[in-house]
């Protein structure tokens, strides 16, 4: 069990800087998810914590002591790789016990630990098989088992579920989360899937282009995204962003008034963030959605189209079944003023 501290971590490959200074403190036993689009530097950050990549600038501390210069092994971490990276010529048992074997643990102890981890992961029947003879989900569990038996201070996961099919992904997501809660090891988990991030994280780090845009609890990020990027990245379907303005203490979109603006904001242009699921049908509302496409999902219905008052496309997510008579239909929608997010058009930072 351990705390992890990142102090202004930077990474340069040659002259190009790909991580521009990330800082955070991770509590003992916390499950942190690093989420962001492809190429934003998630893996690089994780690999620096693992010790597989050198740190160009800044400091990484595990349990209070600086580990920048330490080999992965000496950092007492375990890593689960995207393609599992199981040793193909070893049995499941040997794969799981390899780290302990190198550390010189007595054979009997290794066997006991492997058996225990295998029971936990429902792998007991497969211990003598080679990875080749396992399904994707089972391989994934072996990779987890290899991490568990070492009893490391920190678990590191790099997109461990991305090679699995959708259904298995949901199941493994639950299993990993459950397991982590049971053994309580501090974990860093990288994914580009915001659903995984929302469901698994105690806290998440939303990354964009080498910067941590926001660090916080999933629901806090959802309810109060700190930047436009975080607002659009978290939540599905993603938030609608429209060009509006504040006039005489009121939020306006084109000719339509959306309600009183939060106190203390000067008049001027703003970016309005409206979540699709916060749009409600309301015959009296001036916001009128011209539907181009409707996606009935059963539990809810996605309507894609354009508002009369704005250029940008708009998506609404209405609860339940909603039968439309096709393209061109006009639906008046209302969004509660307190559910509207305001962002600065220049910096993209949150205003309210």
């Amino acid at each position: 069990m351990a705390t992890v501290e990142l102090r202004n971590i930077k990474k340069r490959f040659g002259k190009t800087e790909v991580i521009h200074g990330v800082s955070t403190e991770i509590d003992d036993g916390e499950f942190i998810v690093i989420v962001g689009p492809s190429g934003c530097g998630k893996s690089t950050l994780l690999r620096m914590v693992a010790g597989l990549e050198s740190v160009s600038d800044g400091e990484i501390r595990i349990d209070g002591s600086r580990v920048n210069e330490r080999e992965p092994m000496e950092r007492d971490i375990a890593m689960v790789f995207q393609n599992y990276a199981l040793y193909p010529h070893m049995t499941v048992r040997q794969n799981m016990g390899y780290g302990l074997k190198i550390a010189g643990t007595p054979k009997r102890q290794i066997a006991a630990k492997v058996d225990e981890a295998a029971a936990l992961l429902q792998l007991s029947d497969y211990l003598d098989r080679r990875p080749k003879a396992l399904s994707g989900g089972q391989r994934q569990r072996v990779a987890m088992g290899r991490a568990i038996v070492r009893e490391p201070k920190v678990f590191l996961f790099d997109e461990p579920l991305s090679n699995l099919d959708a259904k298995l992904r949901v199941q493994m997501r639950l299993e990993i989360k459950e397991l982590q809660e049971r053994i309580g090891v501090t974990s860093l988990y990288v994914t580009h899937d915001q659903v995984e991030a929302m469901t698994m994280a105690d806290r998440m780090i939303v990354m964009n282009a080498g910067r941590a845009e926001q660090i916080g609890k999933p629901l806090d990020v959802y309810e109060r995204p700190a930047t436009l990027f975080a607002a659009q990245f978290i939540g599905s379907p993603s938030m609608n962003v429209l060009d509006g303005r504040i006039e005489a203490g009121e939020m306006r979109l084109g000719s339509a008034a959306l309600g009183p603006a939060p106190a203390g904001l000067p008049d001027g242009p703003v970016k309005l963030g409206l979540r699709p699921e916060h749009a409600l049908p309301d015959p009296d509302s001036p916001l009128r959605l011209r539907v181009r496409l409707s996606e009935p999902l059963g539990a809810n219905t996605l309507l894609h189209g354009q508002l009369d008052q704005a250029e940008a496309p708009f998506t609404a997510c209405l609860a339940g079944v909603h039968r439309t008579n096709g393209s061109g239909e006009i639906i008046p929608l209302r969004v509660a003023p307190e559910a509207i997010h305001l962002f600065s058009p220049e910096t993209g930072d949150r205003l309210n």
Partner: protein, 303 residues
């Protein structure tokens, strides 16, 4: 290993109609066509095998029988006598000695080449050191310098070290191998980086990683190369001819040539033929016994 029957892409066929027929591209043979194919194959085997058969027949008859014009086509009754003579006394030196020499040289060359090239390929692929590409290309360039080209300077060096007429003289100059290094390098490049990283996280130092992971993963490749290199070593002719003047250091391939009579001596053809047959046996044993690994090493690798 799964067998694929597609020989080529073949013309696209509407599916369904031909469900029970073989996939497009594979030509199915029936009746006369099948017999013809087999007849041709058998004929081919006979053509290839015939000289070997003649050699075997010649090794089981007496000298006068060979010299008399219609060459015998069926084995005689001198099998044991001829082979005993070849193995125990030979012409210049007992064949048993030459077989032993050849065996030591072939195994020495094969094992030496494999060890050296495994290690150098490992260094080139997994370590970043100054001049890495330079060294790789230097090794690669030596591909263009077969033994025959560098034979004179090599001879000087070996003679200078006093290694004439010794196993080390037979083996060491032939060990450095660009081909094997290159093949292992290509194989190592196909091992995912994450495997090396997983081993690093597990605490394996480089040589431990080599020993525990790279080596076992390369075993089919090693077997395939062993077969090829064993035969390469076994068939060496020019080099042993140059550096072994003492008959007791002769290898079998050069030894056969040495048995040919010079001037007016009478050739002991039955003994020479027996020697030839004996010379073929070890490579055949190596190929046959390692056939399965050999083919697996050439066609797929365990990853």
């Amino acid at each position: 290993m799964t067998a694929t029957h597609d020989i080529g892409p073949g013309p696209a066929q509407p599916s369904g109609r031909r469900a029970a027929e073989p996939p497009p591209g594979m030509v199915e043979r029936r009746g006369a066509s099948l017999w013809l194919t087999h007849a041709l194959l058998i004929l081919g085997v006979l053509v290839v095998f015939f000289p070997i058969w003649l050699a075997f027949v010649a090794s089981t008859v007496t000298q006068p029988e060979i010299a008399r014009p219609p060459m015998p086509l069926w084995p005689g009754d001198r099998f044991f006598e001829n082979y005993r003579e070849a193995l125990l006394s030979g012409v210049n030196v007992p064949v048993a000695t030459m077989l032993l020499n050849s065996l030591v040289m072939a195994i020495g060359i094969a094992v030496g080449k494999i060890v050296i090239s495994l290690l150098s390929a490992f260094a080139i692929v997994y370590f970043r050191f100054p001049g890495r590409t330079f060294f790789f290309w230097t090794i690669f360039l030596t591909l263009m310098l077969p033994v025959e080209v560098r034979i004179v300077p090599t001879y000087e060096v070996v003679a200078g070290f006093g290694m004439l007429n010794s196993y080390s003289g037979l083996i060491f100059p032939l060990i450095a191998s660009a081909t094997a290094t290159f093949l292992f390098r290509q194989f190592f490049l196909t091992i995912p980086d994450e495997l090396a990283e997983a081993a690093r996280v597990d605490g394996a130092k480089p040589m431990r990683f080599f020993w525990d992971i790279v080596l076992p993963m390369s075993r089919t490749n090693i077997a395939a190369l062993f077969v090829i290199l064993f035969i390469y070593g076994w068939n060496q002719y020019l080099w042993p001819l140059l550096i072994t003047t003492d008959p007791s250091m002769n290898t079998i391939v050069m030894g056969i040539k040495q048995m040919f009579p010079s001037g007016d001596d009478i050739a002991e053809w039955p003994v020479i033929m027996a020697t030839s047959i004996l010379a073929m046996i070890p490579p055949v044993i190596v190929v046959v016994s390692m056939q399965k690994l050999f083919i697996r090493g050439l066609v797929d690798s365990e990853k």
